[in-house]
Structure formats: structure tokens, C-alpha cells
């Protein structure tokens, strides 16, 4: 059997495996998907909002936090990282108006969210510390529905259900769908004790553990992945509250989307590198999260290489045969060359595609939103046929930028 076919079958098996894994985890935990424990007591909570040039959204972010129904929320530290727009002015006005809001500004632009977050964390005295991006808007009950998980002493952090705020452009709608799939699978991974990221739009940590692991790694461009791995490596857990809904502004242009994904991937590479010694060791980080990251990336890159190889060969052969055909004055394509006896591998591919598609449709129906219309068939098709296939290319570009040291927040 050809080596490419062996690799193809290996991919098919892995796709089936993860589809079954997620299905089994979902079926066995269906009643707990939307469950959130009611907190036995009120934990004091301060929230840090890092801000850089967010004049359009910062006020709305702070106001959405102020409207939270969580009674333990004491202070909101908005840290301006020396914005060049009017962000700091807005923050100061908010601080004057609302007692809970504190306006902070770094001494110089630190250029990274992690630095601004750590700066703000120095002022926090509460039991829990929360972080919200300056372009994200937690719902009124988002915090209160996350706090109960902290009754378990082993829980170091709680992440939330992050959804796209803006959905008018195609690229935004694709991301909106992607965010749902990511959130759904992250919750499922939570049942396997394998949540690998606590994203910036809303993440809450136990302050003493946050301090114990040294806060955010300022060298890492995805500090939210790094701190999650850091906490897990110390033997703690990160949970997800599907009922803690946060809306965030997603990139509206492909260029910004591409830049964001490059940053995510580079951060992932940095984090894998930092925790590589734990690869295949005991615990969910070493035995599942790191291998999951490494192998899914490896699979993506190898898949891309194989696709490029086979498509490249076909294009060159077609090009050469066209030139030769013209030279020999014969037809460039004949009907009898069209193969109407497809390979069984095509059927496998179609079968897996249908399963994947059904999974995405299921996720859409599971995460209900009153505020937005359900994604249409075009968005679904664009997501499964185009959006997911460009990922390996972005990954490859990220490795290139990482190797050249060209990356920033």
C-alpha cells in the first residue's frame, strides 16, 4: 500500500477517534454541560482590564462589568498601557464617576497584555482575580455563574463561554461559528480535565494560586494558554462555565484575523517549548494536553505537505501534458480521461466530512443565542470547506515567524 494512503487512513482513524471521544464525553455528561455550582459563600473579586487603544469599547466593557449581579465584585482596575488614543481619558472619567473603577496607567508602553495584566494584579487584594479584555462584554450573570466552581479547592481558574459580538461580515460570521465550536469542545475537554486555555475575555483565578505560579508569563504572547498550563502543572484544575456568557469583538478584516491567529499559534509554540519536559508524563497536561497540541499541529503540517505535494504534482503533470498536447496537435482533455470510478478513499472522506459537518450543526443548535440569528448554510459550508483548511497554512507561517523571532502582541 502506498505510504500516502497509509497516512490518509491514519488521519481518518484519528478524525473518527476524536469524534467518538467528544461524542462519548458529551453523552455521558449531557446533564452537566450547562451546570454551574452555586457558590457556598461570597468570594471577594477584583477584575483587571488591560487596555491599549480601545477608546471605542472600553466604556462599554467597564459598564458591562459594573452591571454584574455578583455581589463580591469589589474593584475594577482598568490598566491603560499608554494608549495613543483617548482611552485613558475615558478610563479616568469612568473612575471619577464610579467608585468601583480604578484608573491605572503603566509608566511606559509595555506592548503586551500580560505585562498590563500583571501590573494591574499588583493592586488586587481580593481572594479571586478576574481579567476581561477591553473589547469584551460579560453578561450580567456571567461572573456569578462562574464563582461556584471555586468551592472546590483544586480549582485554580474558571473560564467562560466566549462568543463573537460583531457578525456582519463573512469573516466575522465564520469566527462566530468557530468560537462556538471551540467553546463546546473546551467544555467537553473540561470533563477530561484537559482545558488548555482560559481566554482573555473573561477568566477568573484564585489569587493566591495566581501569585504562586508567578502571574502571567510576560515573554509569552498567549499568556492565557501559558497560565492555564502553569496552573495544571502545579496540580490544579481549570473549569469552564458554559452559562458565563461573554461577547467579544472579533477581527473584522482578514489581515487582523491572520495576525491574531499567528499570535495564537506562536504563543502555543512558546508554551509547548516551555513545558516540553512534561510531554508524555503523568497528569492531564503531560498525557493529553501537550500531546494533543503537538500531534494536532504535526498532523496539520504533514497533511498540508501531503496535499501540497499531491496537488503540486497534479498541476505540473496537467501543465506539461497540456503543453505537450498542444505541440502534438491533440486534444488537451478527453472525456474518456474522466474517471467515473472513484476511489474508496473519496467515500471515506465524504463520510468523515458529513460527520464533522453534523458535529458543527449540533454545536450550533446546542449553543442557543437569542441575540443573533443562527448561522446559515453558507457560513457552515465556508467554515468546514475553507476556514478549517487554511489553518495548517497559518500554522506553518507561525513556525516561520517564530523561527525568525518576528512576533509581537
Amino acid at each position: 500500500m502506498d505510504i500516502l494512503i497509509v497516512i490518509y487512513l491514519m488521519y481518518a482513524f484519528l478524525a473518527l477517534y476524536f469524534l467518538f471521544l467528544f461524542s462519548i464525553v458529551y453523552i455521558q455528561n449531557k446533564p452537566r454541560m450547562l451546570y454551574y455550582p452555586k457558590a457556598k459563600r461570597i468570594y471577594s473579586l477584583d477584575i483587571v482590564v488591560p487596555c491599549y487603544n480601545e477608546e471605542e469599547s472600553i466604556e462599554k466593557t467597564v459598564k458591562s462589568l459594573l452591571s454584574s449581579d455578583y455581589r463580591g465584585l469589589n474593584r475594577i482596575y482598568v490598566v491603560d498601557d499608554c494608549s495613543t488614543d483617548s482611552s485613558y481619558g475615558i478610563i479616568k472619567k469612568l473612575a471619577e464617576k464610579y467608585e468601583k473603577v480604578a484608573a491605572l496607567q503603566t509608566l511606559r508602553n509595555m506592548g503586551k497584555a500580560a505585562s498590563a495584566k500583571n501590573y494591574g494584579a499588583k493592586f488586587v487584594k481580593s481572594e479571586l482575580i478576574g481579567f476581561t479584555d477591553a473589547d469584551s462584554f460579560p453578561e450580567r450573570d456571567a461572573i456569578s455563574k462562574a464563582i461556584g466552581f471555586f468551592d472546590d479547592e483544586k480549582v485554580a481558574g474558571v473560564t467562560s463561554l466566549i462568543l463573537a459580538k460583531n457578525r456582519s461580515k463573512t469573516v466575522e460570521r465564520l469566527q462566530a461559528l468557530e468560537y462556538k465550536v471551540i467553546a463546546f469542545t473546551r467544555k467537553l475537554l473540561g470533563f477530561l480535565d484537559a482545558i488548555y486555555v482560559s481566554p482573555g475575555p473573561l477568566a477568573i483565578y484564585r489569587k493566591k494560586l495566581f501569585d504562586k505560579v508567578g502571574g502571567f508569563d510576560e515573554k509569552n504572547v498567549t499568556e492565557d494558554i501559558e497560565i492555564t498550563w502553569n496552573l495544571i502543572s502545579h496540580g490544579y484544575r481549570v473549569e469552564m462555565s458554559m452559562m458565563s456568557k461573554v461577547f467579544t469583538v472579533v477581527p473584522e478584516h482578514l489581515k487582523h484575523w491572520y495576525h491574531q491567529r499567528i499570535r495564537w499559534n506562536i504563543g502555543g509554540i512558546q508554551t509547548i517549548r516551555k513545558y516540553r519536559s512534561l510531554f508524555l508524563t503523568k497528569g492531564s497536561l503531560g498525557s493529553f494536553i501537550i500531546p494533543f497540541f503537538v500531534f494536532s499541529w504535526l498532523i496539520g503540517i504533514v497533511g498540508l505537505a501531503i496535499q501540497a505535494y499531491t496537488i503540486g504534482r497534479r498541476i505540473i503533470t496537467y501543465y506539461l501534458s497540456t503543453i505537450y498536447s498542444v505541440g502534438a496537435q491533440t486534444a488537451v482533455l478527453t472525456l474518456r480521461e474522466i474517471n467515473l470510478s472513484p476511489s474508496i478513499l473519496y467515500f471515506y472522506g465524504i463520510f468523515l466530512f458529513i460527520l464533522g459537518f453534523a458535529f458543527t450543526v449540533f454545536v450550533i443548535s446546542f449553543i442557543k443565542e437569542k441575540e443573533y440569528k443562527r448561522e446559515g448554510i453558507l457560513t457552515l459550508a465556508g467554515y468546514t470547506l475553507f476556514y478549517l483548511t487554511v489553518y495548517p497554512i497559518i500554522l506553518l507561517a507561525s513556525i516561520y515567524y517564530y523561527a525568525r523571532g518576528k512576533f509581537s502582541w
Binding site: M1, A328, S341, Y348
Partner: protein, 218 residues
């Protein structure tokens, strides 16, 4: 947290394995069905070949007829040419088993016997027909060779369409390890592939137009 994460991993593994193995078995049976179809064709072709060989053996008898022999060779060549196209398409899409490759080898032997038969026929009968034997490699590594072979197929197909019964077109894959074929190609001093042998005399290596080939035909 999941009560027993290890169990979920194992359950998923076994479920995936069951579906995967079922899929592979289904695929193998699917490809085997195609092999059954090819084998049926092959049996019919074998019958035609036997008929042709029997006619060849009748040379010394009174009932011997050159037009019959030529007609028979042409019919047989046309039959296995059509079957070659089907076989090639099935072979292209046969990924799980190598059984079609074996069928291809059998056909190559059959085609070589046909070629030998045509050579003998030419010695005995001075009919108005030409033989065009297309020698190619079934799995060329070089893309240039692959493209050249694609174009040769097109040219020869055009030629066959135009000349019909006046040419016997025999495509033979040279990498099947058929020793009688190697013996013929050595005798004709064939130095590379693809090669087109016209009337067992003229060997073409570079692509030419159908018009240029016509110069060598009867």
C-alpha cells in the same frame, strides 16, 4: 470532571477501531467487486485469444483464411484496448488492495501474446493493416514521463478513432516483468519508455502528431 477519563479514551478508541475496520473491509470488498468484473472480462479475452491462436495454427489447412485471422486479431485487440481503459481507471482508484495490479500483469501477458500473434500473422498474411504497440511504464516517477504518456495515449486514441479496423493498437505496460516482452523489446533495441512501435519496425520515442505517425502506417 469526568468520572473516569481513561475509560472515555478507551471507549472512543475501540469504537473508532470498529468503525475503521468495518470501513476498510467494506473498501476491500468494494475493490474486490471491481476485480471480479475485470476477471470476467479477462476470461472473455482469454477465449478470444485462444480463438486467435487456433486460427494461427490453421495456416496449413485448406480452410485457412487470412482475412479471418486479421479480423480476429483486430477484434481481440479492440476488446483488450477497451478493457485496458477500464482496468486503468479501476487501478487508479484501487487504493486498498494490490489485486488489480496482478490483473494488470495478466493483461500485459495477454497483450504480449497478441503482439506475437500479430507478428506471426504479418509473416503469413499480407493484409492491409498496421500494428501500433504502445510501450509505457505503469507508475512513472518522473512527471515529464507521466505527462508524455498521457499525451501518447491521447494521440494513439485519436489515431485509432480515425483508422478503426486498419490498425491494431496494443498498449503494454513494460514494468510487469513479462520475460517474453523483454525479449521482444531487446530484439527491437528499445532504449527507453514510453515508446511506440509501428509495424514492428519503426520505434518512436518523442511525441509526434497523429499526422506524423500516419506516414509509417499502411
Amino acid at each position: 470532571m469526568f468520572d473516569n477519563p481513561k475509560r472515555a479514551f478507551l471507549e472512543a478508541f475501540f469504537l473508532a477501531l470498529i468503525v475503521f475496520v468495518f470501513g476498510i473491509m467494506l473498501g476491500i470488498s468494494f475493490e474486490n467487486n471491481r476485480l471480479v468484473e475485470i476477471n470476467d472480462y479477462y476470461t472473455l479475452s482469454e477465449i478470444s485469444l485462444m480463438d486467435s491462436l487456433a486460427l494461427n495454427g490453421m495456416v496449413d489447412l485448406d480452410t485457412f483464411s487470412c482475412p479471418d485471422l486479421i479480423r480476429n486479431n483486430i477484434d481481440f485487440a479492440d476488446r483488450i484496448y477497451d478493457e485496458a481503459v477500464t482496468l486503468e481507471k479501476y487501478e487508479e482508484s484501487g487504493d486498498l488492495t494490490d489485486s488489480l495490479k496482478l490483473a494488470h500483469r495478466k493483461y500485459d501477458i495477454l497483450r504480449t501474446i497478441l503482439w506475437i500473434n500479430v507478428m506471426k500473422t504479418r509473416e503469413k498474411c499480407a493484409g492491409n493493416f498496421s500494428s501500433v504497440v504502445y510501450l509505457y511504464e505503469s507508475e512513472p516517477e518522473e512527471l515529464e514521463q507521466k505527462a508524455t504518456q498521457i499525451v501518447w495515449s491521447r494521440i494513439l486514441f485519436d489515431l485509432k478513432q480515425e483508422y478503426g479496423d486498419r490498425i491494431i493498437l496494443i498498449p503494454i505496460s513494460v514494468d510487469s516483468g513479462v520475460s517474453s516482452l523483454s525479449s521482444i523489446t531487446n530484439r527491437l533495441n528499445i532504449s527507453g519508455y514510453p515508446a511506440v512501435v509501428i509495424n514492428d519496425k519503426n520505434v518512436l520515442y518523442s511525441l509526434v502528431s497523429a499526422e506524423d505517425i500516419k506516414k509509417y502506417l499502411k
